[in-house]
Assembly symmetry: C4
Homo-oligomer: 192 residues x 4
């Protein structure tokens, strides 16, 4: 089984997810610059989620790039990831609309966590399918970044109980550590 | 005629169908966790339909994978399938909004039945085009799963007259028997 | 310049156009079968427009299939076609919402006419680029079907002045004569 | 790293951006031709933005066409461009709804400027990655058109202070000078 359509379908779904978030920007009734101010939280939450979805696309791109062929399990692990990615626009809009209130921030963390879990499952399915020669396995090594992210999301989710702004800080921090998306895979590929 | 654009266009349409269903989640007015509770039926119906569309994509992927080249009839059979798939978001939203009431459940069954019929027509068009050497024909064998699904959808549609929850159970049951999407084709391809 | 991205981009845009029309189906407030009856005109106009966009995709598929390479003029002629295709969902919704009233039917005809004009321009750009050896030129011959469509759209537009149902009949008639999309090209390709 | 998925993902996102702008056309309540008149500014702003997004797709197409392989920096520069492109539908709708008022026109200029800046960054990342042999570098030469556009957008933004119609004229003028999108690259490629 080749991977072309898995890539094409994932690209399609992720492209739509990243774009429909914009539909949450309702045009203001007024036509003054100050009418844009109430939209700032929505804009900020959009920018963060755009970054997150972009990171997932980027890492997905690099991960699938290392794969030679796929199986049914990988297809379903990929669809499971797409399912959780598809929930990001909803929670992004809720968070923006309610100015980063406690519970929207909590839900945002849970959705991010589920995405990270789904991504980890997809990664494991690929490595399992490829066996010991897996380029992906060699490239991610002990996957410190992946494990740290899961831990940080869990921390952020717990932190909403005390202060949701700390959680927000953690979400941005995790995004930043992934912004350099796959130096690992890229470097590894260059080294062989 | 090659099949690349049929795949690309189908991937595009299915990716959009699976994603626009999320637009039905209207953000709650409140910002408390309990404000999410009224959304649970919508979420559940989304999850089931996501699964259904994912199964169709998956099976479509495997079916077209076996095809060498296509003709005009296959193109139109494919568009007929896409038409019925495109009606899933509407009926999903109606079902979720009205908490799985009798008639939305009935319509859901009819749309699923029409999708199964359209899929069967597409399958037959491909086999007819390929003749006796059809890999697809050998892979699906007597197509017990396809025939059973048609029968189960009809049963579920009839059952809504008595109890719509039995119908709901059947819809989930059919999804589960397809979840292992094409062991048949995959196994067959591995065996040659 | 190769044609891959022109195909991919056109597939993307047409896939979105054909799918967002579904967003016009607003879920009824009630949950009875009879609550679906007011949606019937919307459904019918959706089905006709789905057919039209499908025909355009199909013919576009066959037309570009004959092309070896493209130039800037073809790119822009293609974008001009996509622009007019993108207006189909709006006029479809207006027509459905107002139960095929005179002026929505008139606008529908104008948009269909502009699409046919744009398609003809794209066709001419390709033939001009390819010169006398153009497979497309040989395949379409005198393009009776294309010319007849333009004439029929003009007739239908004029007819809305007297009776919009005649126009509606013409729109469906034109769709039907294109339903067998490109026997011409397909036959020609098989003959060489 | 090859460029296929960068192209596919960009095509997907740009196709969605260019198409969801149509969703801003709300169907009029009436069914008379005169009910369309209030939609004219929305239609006109849609047409201009369609042209702009089409120009970006066209130039993106030509630019990436010259590239042999990509790196992580190019991926992110591309995503940065897609982010700013994704904001065009919002500002287009605001501008159309408020009949080209001063501040919507200002925001439109800022978004166009940011798109031009992002495009320039993407261009520089590619040239930097390819070094002195860069086909892109040779093709764009001193990039007079790119520099002139940046200058014209800045002028237009400043001009909204005095008269927003001058700004509008500049936006259309810039679109027109790009309409012949890449004669430069196309000519250069033909010359080698």
């Amino acid at each position: 089984m080749n991977k072309n359509r898995l890539e094409a379908f994932s690209d399609g779904v992720i492209a739509i997810i990243i774009t429909i978030m914009v539909l949450e920007f309702k045009i203001p009734n007024g036509n003054h610059l100050s009418d844009l101010i109430p939209l700032l939280p929505t804009f900020f939450s959009y920018a963060v989620s755009f970054l997150y979805v972009a990171i997932y696309w980027n890492n997905h791109h690099h991960m699938i790039h290392t794969v030679k062929n796929i199986n049914g399990k990988i297809l379903w692990a990929n669809l499971f990831l797409l399912f959780w990615l598809s929930l990001i626009p909803f929670t992004t809009a809720w968070m923006g609309e309610h100015h980063f209130a406690k519970f929207p921030m909590l839900l945002y963390g849970i959705i991010l966590l589920m995405n990270a879990v789904a991504y980890t499952i997809l990664q494991k399915s690929i490595i399992q399918h490829e066996g010991e020669d897996s380029i992906l396995l060699k490239a991610i090594g002990k996957d410190y970044k992946g494990k740290a992210s899961l831990f940080l999301y869990l921390t952020a989710i717990g932190m909403t109980y005390f202060n949701e702004w700390i959680s927000g800080g953690i979400y941005i921090f995790v995004a930043l550590i992934w912004l350099i998306p796959d130096k690992r895979i890229e470097r590894f590929l260059n080294s062989i």
